[in-house]
Structure formats: C-alpha cells, structure tokens
Amino acid sequence: MPSDLVIRLRQNFPFVTALVLFCAIFALYQVEHPRGFSSAVLVQNGDEVFALAMVAMAQTVPVLAAGLDLSVGALMTMVGCCASYLLSGAPEGTPLAVELAGLHLNLGTLPGGIIGIVLGMIICLAVGTLAGLFNGVIVVYGRIQPIIATLATGAIYIGIALFLRPQPGGKIDDDLNWALTNALSDFASTVHIFDDGAAPWFAPFAWIPTSFVLLALIALLVWVPFRRSITGRTVYAIGSAEGAAYMSGLNINRAKIAAFTLGGFFAACGGLFLAIQTSSGNADLPQAGTYTLNSIAAVVIGGTSLLGGTGGAIGSIFGALILRVISFFFRIYDIAPLLQPLFEGIILLAAVSIGALRVLRVKNTLELFR
C-alpha cells in the first residue's frame, strides 16, 4: 500500500520533475555566476521572469479547461500601453481623453500622486480582466473554438495597443519603478514603511526581490483560492470530460468564462509589471507573439497537459523560470549570440520530447488517442 505522500508525488509527477529541474539548473546557474547568490542577481532574474511567469499563469487557466488562449501576449501588450499613460504619476494628475475617428471623448482627470497611481493600476488590471471576460463570452456564448476566437481577439487587442502607442513611449512614475523592480528593502524605503526598511526584524527579508514576493502573493491570494473554489474545480472537470462535468450539474459556462477572465487578470498583471519595469509602453507585435508562444511552452514544461484537466498555475511559474534560467546561462557561458536561438529551440524540443517518452510504456495503442 503506497503512502499518501507517494500517491501525491505520483499524481504530480510532471510538476515535481519541473520543480527538481528548476532547482538543479538554478543552483548551477548561481554557482557558475561570478556574483551568484547575491540580492542584485536575484533582483535582475526576478524582474526578467515576472512578465513571462504571469503570462504563463494566464495561459494555464484556459488550458486546464481544454482551451487555449492565443491572445495573452496581445492582452499583456495592450495593458502595458494603457499603463504607460495612467501611471506617469504627474503631480497635477493625468487628463483622460480619447480621440477616436474625430470624436473627442473626455473621461475626466486621474488624480495625481499616490492615489492616482493606485487608481491607474486598478484601471489597468480592470482593462485586462474585461478583455479576458470578452474572450470568455465569445468562446462560451459565441460557441467558437477558443484557439481561433482568441486568435481574433488577440488581433483586436494588438490593434488597440497600436492605437494607444503607435510609437513606443510614455512614462512611468520613477518611484513606482524603483519600488517594484528592486529588493524589498528598496520597496520599504520608497513607500516609507518599517522605518524605511531599517527595522531590525525586517533585515532577514530585506534582500528578497519584490518581484518574487509579488509573484508569490498573486499565486497564493488569487490562484490557490480559485483552484479550491467550486468554479476552479469545474475548470479541471471541464478539461477532463466536459460532457461528464455538465451531466454532474456543474455550471460549465460560468467556469469557462471565469477561466478566461482570470487569464486576462494574470496577463494584465504581467503587462502592468512589464510597463513599470521598462518605464514605457510599446505595442510590439513580435514581442506579443513571442510571449504567447513562450507561455504555451512554459505551461507544458510546468507539467500542465495541453489536453486539459491536469496541472496547475504554480507549475507554469516554474516552467517560465526554467525557460528564463536557460537563457541566463547563455550570458555566463558566453555562448555566441548567434547560436542562442538554436540552443533555445533544441532545449524546448528536447524538454517536450522527454515528456513524450511515456508512449514507450503504453501497452494498448488505443490509449494514445485521446
């Protein structure tokens, strides 16, 4: 009789593999790095991984419901472009006006200072969440396949992003940028809490990068409660067998819409952070595409099945971390930049092919067709 722990490990085998793989390569990276295990290196890593991790989480939720969201990168870009207007932190406030086809819409003024910044962040997240909701409504009530519906909505979001920022630009409040893209001590000293970060009890945590804390907070406060809710379980049930979920009396429409909406929220978090980190908004079409495709890769590496039903967003975070750490290695091993895309591709192919080795254990060929 295998113990409870063994059963749990077996059920979460892909996730555990991703976790172990990440720990191994991250430890190797820190050992090899000339300034490894320092707060500065961690801060840099955290900043570079945050947006991809959020987009990967965004991709996970629809994938669990056996869908796919090809609009996450575009959604992230659109929110980033919004943020580049709303988070300038100008003391006199930001006037909100839209010029559309000769029509001049005045939407009032966003107050300046800290209130304005918080309001602006809330608006950005709301925009992304609404876009996710739109995806969900189209998929559920339009009854269009998620992959093609989000392909189309992705084009719309990129269009809006281009409308907002035909050229890269905009401005993000400097303090906000500093507070969120550094270690916790810098966050505390910027927002003046814990004696500006000098409180004695705070010292053991001061080195932790703010981005990691944000990532953990979003995962623990948003994803974990969602997963435990009835709606969250319904998302898993839909991925396993939609017909059975329906026959069991679960509200599958609500769960699907919730999955896309939550995906929109996660992607919005990523876009917001990317804008804050780069202090600008950029409607970069290729970048949006790369983020979407990398998000799928991160989801798969993190142990979520593209067929739906198994996996989770925490695994996708580690999938994103693995993808990013691999590219960090190129810097320390001084691999010619020209060969880097090749290595990235080969590693991605190898990672997904190793996961495919289970076909060798399948005894009944019919089990392959699902």
């Binding site: 796919l68 009854r143 189309a152 798969v300 930049p337 020209l338 192919l349 092919s353 495919a356 060929t365």
Partner: protein
C-alpha cells in the same frame, strides 16, 4: 432532421463557402463605393488589379493549402514561418538549377520531422511544431550570421513568381497546381478519406485499419512542402530571402482555412472554402490599404471579421446536444 430533402438545404459544408463568397462581394462593393467617392475611379473591379492581388494572394493560398491538410487531421503546424524562410534562404544560397529542389526539400524535410514528432512521439503538434520553428529560426540565424543574406533568387524563381505568361501571373499557375493536387488528394484518393476519418476520430480510424501515423506524417510533410514552395516563390517575388519573411503567413493561413468553413478540430471542410477564405483575406487587406487604414484599425477589423464570420456559421455544438 434527416427528413428534409437534400435539394432544399445547402450541404452543411457549403454554407460557410457561400457566406464567405457573399462577404467577398460585399467587400468589393464597399471598397469600390469608397474609391468612387474619393478618387472617382473603381480600381478594385478592374481585372489588372484583381490579378495583381491574386498574385500576392497566391503565396498565402499555397501555405493555406498545406495548413488545411494538417488542420483536417485536427493538428496544427506553427513551424510555417521559419520553414518558409529556411526554404527561401537555402534556395537562394545554393542558387543555380538546384535552387528550387533544395528549397522544396528543406520544406519537405522539416515537415517530415514535424510529422514524426507528432505521430510517433505523440507530442501535441502545437508545442512540437513551435519547437521546430524555434530550431529552424536558430539554424537560419546561425547560417546567415544574423544579417540579411546577400544572396539573390535565381532567374527561374523570378520567372515563376513575378512574371506573367498569357497575361496571367505565373504564381497563379503554381497556386492552381497546388490546389489541384490537394483537391485530388482529398476527393479522389484513399488518403483523403483517411484524412477526414482521422480528423473525426483517430481511434476509430486506427481500429478500421488505417495507418494513422503514416497519414499524419504525410500531412505534415505536405504542409512543410507547401511552405517550401511558398518560400521559394516569395524569394523569387522579392528577389531575395530575408529574416521574418514568413511571419506574415502563419495566422492569416489559419484564419483563411477556418473562415473557409474547415473545422479547427478537424474532420470537416472543403478545399473550395479555403480558396474563398484566402481571397477574402487578401481582398480585405487590399481594401484596407486603399483606405489608408492605420495598422491599429486594420488589426481590429481583421480580428472583428474573423469573429463575425465564425459567429455566422462557425459555431460549435452545445455540450448538451
């Protein structure tokens, strides 16, 4: 339901084609009304202009033909952009009489790799072809050194892609040949039956004795081949190969196939629909560029049209039914 005489209702697969065709007419009328109002001319309905648009559409049409075969077996090929680019770059690098065979073999080889990975390793095609795309990109970046390659297309490639015989662009003849091949495969060959069968239910096709893995490899190989053909032609058209030349073909080709009524989950769809879908996308693009629509508006309209068309006829069935 089955009591309705077949003559009175359109076959299920023909409805999308008819609606898409009507939409093309609507685009032409709207575009012509706009140009008449603004410039006092109607270039959209002149044969010269239409032929020119079709010539540009031929590249998309060839890619979409291969993409359709893969979508019909409920897979997808995301490696098209760099397969196309790799074929074009290798063809121009080799040059001489071998240029075209080399380009096509590159496409075919990548397609076979895709097919083997999907059929035998059972990696989801979406992720495997994505990886292959990244590898091809890496190979080409390493090959060209990251700069625009200095090679040029051979004269035969130029003739095929950019010149005309009997007043009709040669690229259209290539598109016609590819289309004929696909139609023959789908309508007149056992392979076509197998493709539809796999798209409907792979397990059932397997139990009926179909070599489902072999058919999968063939479909991906053909999709790679069409990407290779498009790459060689596109290099001939623009006289050279360049980075990112295939990026503009992936999503439009999927959209063309789906707008044409092919089910994205496979198993259903007619080639005529794909043809109509390609023409629709090409004309929509050209009307938008005549209207001097900025990129932002184009993307929004593009996405809106796909959603609209699918809302009209591409809706799936309820889980409850």
């Amino acid at each position: 339901m089955s009591t309705i005489p077949a003559r009175l209702t359109l076959p299920r697969d023909d409805r999308p084609i008819l609606i898409a065709a009507l939409f093309i007419v609507a685009i032409l009328i709207a575009g012509t009304a706009y140009t008449w109002e603004r410039f006092g001319s109607a270039p959209l309905i002149s044969p010269t202009y239409l032929l020119q648009q079709l010539q540009i559409g031929a590249f998309l049409g060839i890619v979409a033909a291969g993409m359709m075969l893969v979508i019909l077996i409920s897979q997808i090929d995301l490696s098209t952009p760099w397969t196309l680019t790799a074929a074009a770059m290798m063809a121009t690098t080799v040059g001489g009489p071998e240029a075209i065979p080399v380009g096509l073999s590159v496409g075919l080889a990548v397609g076979i790799v895709n097919g083997l990975g999907v059929a035998y390793l059972r990696v989801p095609s979406m992720i495997f072809t994505l990886g292959v795309n990244a590898v091809m990109r890496g190979l080409m970046v390493a090959h060209t050194g990251g700069f625009a390659p200095q090679t040029t297309a051979t004269s035969l490639m130029r003739t095929l892609a950019a010149e005309r015989s009997f007043g009709i662009p040669n690229a259209l003849f290539v598109w016609l040949a590819v289309s004929a091949a696909v139609v023959i495969i789908l309508q007149r060959m056992a392979l076509g039956r197998y493709i539809y069968a796999i798209g409907n239910k792979e397990a059932a096709a397997y139990l009926s004795g179909v070599n489902t893995r072999g058919v999968t490899v063939v479909c991906f190989a053909l999709c790679g081949l069409t990407a290779g053909i498009a790459g060689v032609l596109l290099a001939g058209y623009s006289q050279k190969a360049y980075q990112g030349m295939g990026d503009a073909y992936l999503l439009p080709s999927i959209a063309a196939v789906v707008i044409g009524g092919t089910n994205i989950l496979g198993g259903r769809g007619r080639y005529l629909g794909t043809l109509v879908g390609v023409i629709l996308i090409v004309l929509l693009n050209s009307v938008l560029s005549i209207m001097e629509m900025p990129e932002a508006g184009r993307q929004v309209i593009y996405g809106g049209v796909i959603i609209l068309m699918l809302l009209v006829y591409g809706r799936g069935e309820r889980v409850t039914s």
